[in-house]
């Protein structure tokens, strides 16, 4: 379960202090999928970063499974994320100097889970990439890279998956296939999903939608 209370995030800009997240409170139940939607600059990605503990708010608190992320230092947050939280990004963010298999193995290894090689191989087979195990990211297409990223995110079987515009860099057909795969895995593992997207169809697949506008929740 994810809980946030009175989150405020400000940044300084040439025009003065800008409030990106303005007193946002929310709760996401275990296994629920939530889409954060809104116009560009509405604060979706910032909120995702705060909920995942990638960034700290200026005020307010965030809990992940009753662990208060906002009371931890960066290393403690990283340790909390390991194995419990998975990520899928718009620009894939695979490690360029590791093969597809190694990218997935590393995530399993960092979570401290056994048999990383066999499991990574299985996960890549599950996402349809058994023939691309030893390929480096630059040798894969965008859709293939995102499928590796999905395998990497789901392989440690995390309780929560954060996805930031996971289909944003893909064409419609590929994006659709990747989205289907993501929701399929999500259902199979009962993962809590927090998704940032502009895509109404994608958002429509989620249990809940939250509209952000000027750093506030609109609905």
């Amino acid at each position: 379960m994810i809980r946030a209370r009175e989150l405020v995030k400000q940044v300084s800009s040439p025009e003065g202090t800008l409030t990106i997240i303005n007193h946002v409170s929310l709760e996401i139940a275990r296994g629920q999928s939530l889409a954060l939607v809104g116009a560009s600059g509405s604060g979706k990605t910032t909120l995702l970063g705060l909920l995942a503990g990638l960034d700290l708010p200026d005020s307010g608190q965030v809990w992940l499974d009753d662990r208060e992320l906002t009371a931890m230092n960066e290393d403690q947050r990283a340790a909390t994320r390991a194995g419990r939280v998975g990520f899928v990004f718009q620009s894939f963010h695979l490690l360029p100097n590791l093969t597809a298999l190694e990218n997935v193995m590393l995530a399993i290894g960092l979570a401290g889970q056994p048999e990383p090689k066999a499991r990574a191989r299985q996960w890549l087979t599950d996402v349809g990439l058994s023939h691309r195990l030893t390929h480096y990211p630059h040798q894969l297409s965008g859709g293939e890279q995102q499928r590796v990223a999905l395998a990497r995110a789901f392989a440690p079987e995390p309780g929560v998956l954060f996805a930031d515009e996971p289909t944003g860099n893909l064409d419609q057909a590929t994006g659709q296939r990747v989205a289907e795969l993501m929701f399929d895995l999500n259902r199979r593992l009962g993962t809590t999903l927090v998704l940032v997207t502009h895509d109404a169809t994608l958002a429509g697949h989620c249990d809940r939608q939250l509209m952000l506008d000027g750093g506030r929740i609109n609905a």
Partner: protein, 834 residues
């Protein structure tokens, strides 16, 4: 470091290695470590060889000297330590041939003499001579050139020594322990120790000096010496390894300075290359580090991953560098083979240690700060690029790196002056270059705002103006690279040339000593008649130093044996109105006419340091029974390898003229004037001659070999300079890939893109070239003047090469580096870095 992180670090290494940055890092390290190991190893071997040669100049590794017969027990002890021994006995005595009598120094030696070095004899006086391993056989003697000239003897003639008549077998040209000394003016006669009793010359009360020479392995010598140490001082004295050939040593020292300079510059350049490359490498790792942080990697894990990559790169670089350096020093040793008369001893492990530590320090100073920052990357960077993670202060890293380098330079050379000049010069040049970068950006900003039309060159200039920090960094990297390459050319050609010129054809090769005042005029006439330039005479007044700031001077005041002897032996005071050409006042000022007649003293800086003398001190001397107090007015540095007549102590004119003086003169004799010394001795029997032609020839050879060695070591510097240029271009290449792709995607023609890049690089090269040329010129001039003590003015070629070479070279190199990017698909470049 946990095994998990290390294991993943190794996996990443293989791919990272292909990116080029790690290879450049390792290459820079290899060059720095190799040059330090090579020069360090070579210097060690030269110094060891000098120590051995010093042994040769005493005839043994250790000499025990006494005015009493040396107890046989001492000789037995030496033998027990597995050491070889030889005995000599020296005393003054009159020798005769027919009606000629001459006061000579008799050297009686046993069959083992000499233990180190060799004797040279010839069939006629002042001949070239050939090497001999032992002294004269029983019943024969060897008179030296002076004695043979005075007695007018030839081989086979008999000479009366006390009650014996001994046959002159050979003329003694040189002996290891009878080096060129200004004090040993008495002619010599070498005879066998077993013939001594028959001469009946040694009687109770005779002024005899007994010596026991000892030689063997260094460890055994040390053990023997240690058990001698508590021995009573008045019974016997130890002569340690003394530097008997200061001129040769000075020349070799200067050569070592050139080598150290080359090695240091390589290290600085390698440091710069490492800093630029490590920064570039760490920048590329930031995204990956942020992803790893998202996936739950702790700082420790990141440190383990990157640490293992870096440690392995450093290890590979250091190990390869040490091996390359070790091989390179063998090359240097081959160049210097036979140079100092003895085969070079095997290199010690010291140089390998120095080289490795250099690598570690360089890496710690230049590469660690940016690499450590990678571990501090915030995970939020995966969402927004502005989370850069570079919160560290570059100034802190710079201070760390500079401190590491300066410490390293000083530790390596032990030469504070050289370290100071090279360090300060590099810092100043780097600062100037960075400043020039900032000014250039400002200037471009203003210029570009005035116009509105677009063109390739304009786009290039705008690029420079936009990337302020990057422009300053590129300019510093290019500038340092160019200035060192120029300095290399300057030092190699001009400085070495200036050094060679300093030992010209007219360098004195014969010293005349013990000239009486009244002999100066006739001697001068005789020399002019013989076609020698009219000689210059320098006075020499013998004095004993008895007080320092009114306190009596005692032998016990000085711990070191050599210093003690320097303090207690007779000083040769001289006077001069003007500062001798090869002297430089380093503390105080040279005296003007008002000081003439004042009781002032100018002292050699090295002597002053050893004896604890400072400017303003009062030194009391006893000269021919009279006491004289002199105030130290200035300290001088003397270039002993100029071979001019020089004095440790000088007074102004009008102070010493009333004391008994002898005179000394330095001459340059041509090859056809070799008979002149014998004629001079016959005309002026009390005259002493010291032939330094052999030493000069040796010094000239040292210069030639050193020039060769320096060029050899400069190969490292050249490589290091190229690595800096390469690293700087590589650093900018990555950033330009996207920019070029973007320009191409927006429809810019190939020529436009090339034009923009060429303008940018050429302008950088031009500005870097101008500043680098000035820096190299100033550094060359300073090094020549302050460190090498040579007169040097750079030629115009340096300026032309630096400025034009900078603009064209960097422009071209930049274009070559960018060209492959032009042929890449813009979509692929933009896509891969999205």
């Amino acid at each position: 470091m946990n095994m998990f992180a290390a294991g993943w670090g190794m996996r990443m290494l293989a791919q990272d290695w292909r990116s080029g940055e790690l290879r450049l890092l390792a290459l820079a390290l290899v060059i720095a470590v190799a040059s330090i190991t090579a020069v360090g190893g070579f210097s060690d071997r030269i110094n060891l060889a000098f120590a051995q040669q010093a042994g040769q100049s005493m005839g043994g590794d250790l000499v025990i000297r006494s005015s009493q017969p040396i107890p046989p027990a001492l000789e037995k002890q030496a033998v027990q330590y597995d050491l070889a021994t030889a005995r000599t006995l020296t005393f003054p005595s009159v020798v005769r041939r027919e009606d000629q009598t001459v006061l000579a120094t008799i050297y009686a030696v046993d069959d083992n003499y000499p233990l180190r070095g060799d004797l040279r004899t010839a069939t006629q006086a002042f001949g070239h001579g050939q090497s001999r391993q032992h002294g004269p056989a029983r019943g024969t003697v060897w008179a030296d050139s002076r004695l043979a000239s005075l007695l007018q003897t030839n081989p086979g003639d008999s000479i009366a020594v006390g009650a014996s008549e001994l046959s002159q077998d050979q003329v003694l040209i040189s002996q290891p322990d009878g080096g060129a000394s200004f004090f040993a003016v008495a002619p010599r006669l070498l005879m066998h120790l077993d013939d001594l009793a028959a001469t009946e010359l040694i009687q109770p009360g005779s002024r005899v000096r007994y010596r026991l020479l000892v030689a063997g392995e260094a460890g055994n010598i040390d053990r023997f010496r240690q058990q001698l140490a508590p021995g009573p001082e008045d019974q016997y004295q130890l002569e340690s390894l003394e530097e008997r050939q200061p001129e040769l040593r000075a020349a070799m020292h200067r050569g070592e300075q050139f080598l150290h300079l080359a090695a240091l510059v390589s290290v600085i350049l390698a440091g710069a290359a490492i800093a630029v490359t490590a920064r570039q490498y760490s920048r590329r790792q930031l995204d990956a580090a942020a992803v790893l942080r998202c996936m739950g990697a702790s700082r420790k894990t990141l440190l383990g991953m990157h640490g293992s990559v870096i440690a392995l790169t450093a290890l590979a670089g250091c190990a390869t560098g040490v091996i390359a350096g070790y091989l390179a020093q063998s090359g240097l040793a081959a160049i210097a083979a036979d140079l100092i008369g003895t085969p070079l001893p095997a290199p010690g492990a010291g140089a390998v240690l120095t080289g490795s530590l250099t690598g570690i320090l360089l890496f710690a100073g230049f590469a660690l700060p940016p690499l450590l920052e990678v571990t501090r990357t915030p995970p939020g960077r995966v969402l927004r690029r502005e989370h850069s993670g570079h919160h560290w202060r570059p100034a802190l890293a710079a201070v760390l790196a500079i401190t590491a380098t300066i410490a390293l330079m000083y530790w390596h050379t032990g030469d504070a002056q050289l370290t100071l000049w090279v360090g300060a010069g590099t810092l100043l040049a780097g600062g100037l270059l960075a400043l020039a970068g900032i000014l250039l950006v400002g200037l471009l900003d203003v210029t570009l705002r005035r116009g509105s039309h677009t063109s390739a060159w304009r786009h290039g200039l705008a690029n420079l103006a936009r990337r302020r920090g990057e422009t300053a960094l590129l300019l510093t990297g290019f500038g340092l690279g160019i200035s060192v390459l120029l300095l290399l050319g300057v030092v190699r050609n001009d400085l070495l040339g200036a050094w060679e010129a300093s030992l010209g054809e007219d360098t004195p090769n014969l010293f005349l000593v013990n000239i009486q005042a009244h002999e100066r005029e006739p001697l001068s006439e005789l020399l002019v008649e013989a076609g020698v330039v009219e000689p210059e005479f320098h006075p020499m007044v013998r004095a004993r130093w008895h007080s320092h700031n009114q306190r009596p001077v005692r032998a016990d005041d000085f711990e070191e044996g050599r210093t003690r002897r320097m303090a207690m032996r007779e000083f040769n005071l001289s006077w001069a109105a003007g500062l001798p050409a090869d002297n430089r006042v380093i503390d105080g000022q040279w005296w003007d006419e008002d000081s003439h007649g004042q009781p002032l003293l100018s002292v050699d800086e090295d002597l002053a340091r050893r004896l604890g003398i400072s400017r303003g001190d009062t030194l009391g001397f006893e000269i021919a029974g009279e006491h004289l107090q002199l105030e130290v007015d200035n300290l001088r540095e003397i270039r002993w390898d100029s071979f001019n007549a020089n004095f440790f102590t000088l007074t102004p004119p009008g102070v010493l003229e009333d004391y008994p003086a002898t005179w000394i003169s330095a001459l340059n004799l041509g090859p056809d004037q070799q008979a002149l010394p014998a004629q001079l001795i016959q005309a002026f029997p009390s005259l002493g001659t010291i032939d330094v032609a052999a030493i000069i020839a040796q010094v000239r050879e040292v210069i030639e070999r050193v020039s060769l060695s320096v060029q050899y070591v400069f190969l490292f510097t050249l490589l290091a300079g190229m690595v800096v240029l390469l690293a700087t271009i590589q650093a900018s290449r990555e950033q330009r890939r996207r920019e070029v792709a973007l320009m191409r995607a927006l429809g810019a023609r190939r020529a436009t893109v090339l034009g923009a890049m060429a303008t940018e690089f050429a302008l950088l090269g031009l500005v870097a070239g101008i500043i680098a040329t000035l820096a190299a010129w100033a550094a060359g001039w300073l090094i020549a003047r302050e460190v090498m003590e040579l007169a040097y003015l750079p030629g115009a070629g340096v300026f032309i090469t630096g400025i034009l070479g900078g603009a064209l070279g960097i422009g071209l190199a930049g274009l070559l580096a960018i060209r492959p990017v032009l042929s890449q698909s813009p979509m692929r470049v933009l896509g891969s870095s999205a």
